[in-house]
Amino acid sequence: MIAETCLRVEREADVVAARQKGRELAALAGICGSDLTVVATAISEITRNIIAYAERGEIVLKIARRGQRQGVVIIVSDEGPGIADIDMAMRDGFSTGKSLGLGLPGAKRLMDEFEIVSEAGKGVTVMMAKWSR
């Protein structure tokens, strides 16, 4: 049993693999019930963003502990065109292209912690976490 996995995200099949793995690790971290699907959905949203905008990237999934609680921490990063205006991107309905752009604000609503770092031309890194109750 591993506490940390790194997966490459390049095509659609990788999105499915990422969310299965996310579900697995979340379960190991003691996350249960509907939160497992919540985690898988957030992973699906963010990794699809990579495929839509950046062609390739990677996702790191790990089990973490904070005091008495355990949880899963997910870091998704790519080296695509990046986002110039993060505030705009985090608004619902915002889109520059192929998809409806629900990915970012949606994932933030789903997870307990959510942070995004990006600069135009320098890719995007999203960190999110879900803790067991």
């Binding site: 190991l28 019930g33 509907s34 502990r65 355990q70």
Partner: protein
């Protein structure tokens, strides 16, 4: 991998193999320690019975510790396990399998209701016995001390695991009880085919609201409900998080093909919702529970007809 009782599983994941390295680091287990322990091994095993005896003699002094009378099957089994433990302790391999065995021990102690203090006392008696034997057998006192110190690292490694297990078991029980209380306090009742009533009473916090939602959605599927009457007569106030949660519950129920009727909305709660930006018109809100039930039945195509011949009242005894 060892099979743990399901209730313990989620909490015990904290002590499984990815943690082994960290636990070894915590007690600062090094190569030199393994070497020292290897040198101790034969002598400790020679005196195995002495040490096992020290552990149980201590425990037997305490009336709270039951079932340890010599000759009982339980006692024999306990002795056998303790001997195995000691042998494993000086074996030099403290990886995943070792940790799993310690966990199994911890679970056994926990189930047997062994008090943590008693256990620590017994463990100390065991260490004292080991220490005395190692010092006696050694050629040089400093050498003996170093070796004993190495063995103590493993002892504390073990202790860490067992304590974690005892805590995990305790927390698991508490979590189960809390769950049971929550479920009892928001029961979903099926009173007619395809109709569920969810009476909500008391303070609604986000945890409870979430559990409510999960319970309701599962019940919709299990009972194939088409209408849910959610009665909030017993809810005095709602904050934005809870209001949000209720709205999400209604939306999720619709996705599963069930309509939600809200009854018992007090003027205060209605006002809070309006202040929070909720359009009350989008909610199917009906004054009281009875009204809500009637509406639900109408939606389901039921019609209540009163007959002219009600059943006779039961004669009192």
């Amino acid at each position: 991998m060892a099979q743990f009782p399901a209730a313990l599983d989620a909490h015990l994941r904290q002590v499984l193999d990815y943690d082994v390295e960290r636990r070894q680091q915590v007690v600062d287990l090094q190569a030199i320690d393994l070497q020292n322990i290897a040198e101790l091994k034969d002598d400790v095993i020679k005196h195995l019975d002495e040490h096992v005896d020290a552990f149980f003699s201590y425990l037997k002094e305490w009336p709270e510790v039951v079932g340890l009378s010599a000759g009982s099957a339980f006692f024999d089994e306990a002795v056998r396990l303790k001997r195995e433990h000691l042998i494993a302790m000086v074996s030099g391999d403290y990886g995943k399998e070792y940790v799993e065995q310690r966990i199994a021990f911890g679970i056994a102690y926990s189930k047997a209701g062994l008090d943590a203090r008693m256990f620590l006392g017994g463990f100390h008696a065991l260490l004292r016995s080991l220490g005395a034997q190692i010092m006696e057998d050694a050629d040089a006192p400093m050498l003996a001390f170093d070796r004993f110190t190495s063995l103590k690292k493993v002892a504390f490694f073990d202790l860490g695991i067992i304590v974690d297990v005892l805590i995990a078991d305790r927390e698991s029980t508490i979590a189960q009880q809390q769950n049971a209380i929550r479920e009892l306090s928001t029961p979903t009742l099926q009173i007619r085919e395809r109709l569920l009533i969810l009476p909500i009473i008391g303070v609604l916090d986000t945890d409870r609201a979430r559990q409510l939602t999960e319970g309701l959605l599962s019940a919709i599927r299990a009972n194939r409900a088409k209408v849910v009457v959610m009665d909030v007569t017993g809810v005095a106030t709602v904050d934005s998080k809870v209001a949000n949660h209720l709205l999400q519950t209604i939306a999720a129920s619709r996705l599963m093909g069930a309509d939600v009727i809200i009854t018992g909305l007090s003027a205060d709660v209605a006002q809070s919702l309006v202040t929070l930006g909720v359009d009350l018109a989008t909610l199917n809100a009906i004054g009281d529970l009875q009204g809500g039930l009637e509406e639900a039945e109408r939606l389901l195509g039921y019609q209540l007809v009163r007959t002219d011949q009600p059943a006779p009242a039961r004669a009192s005894a």
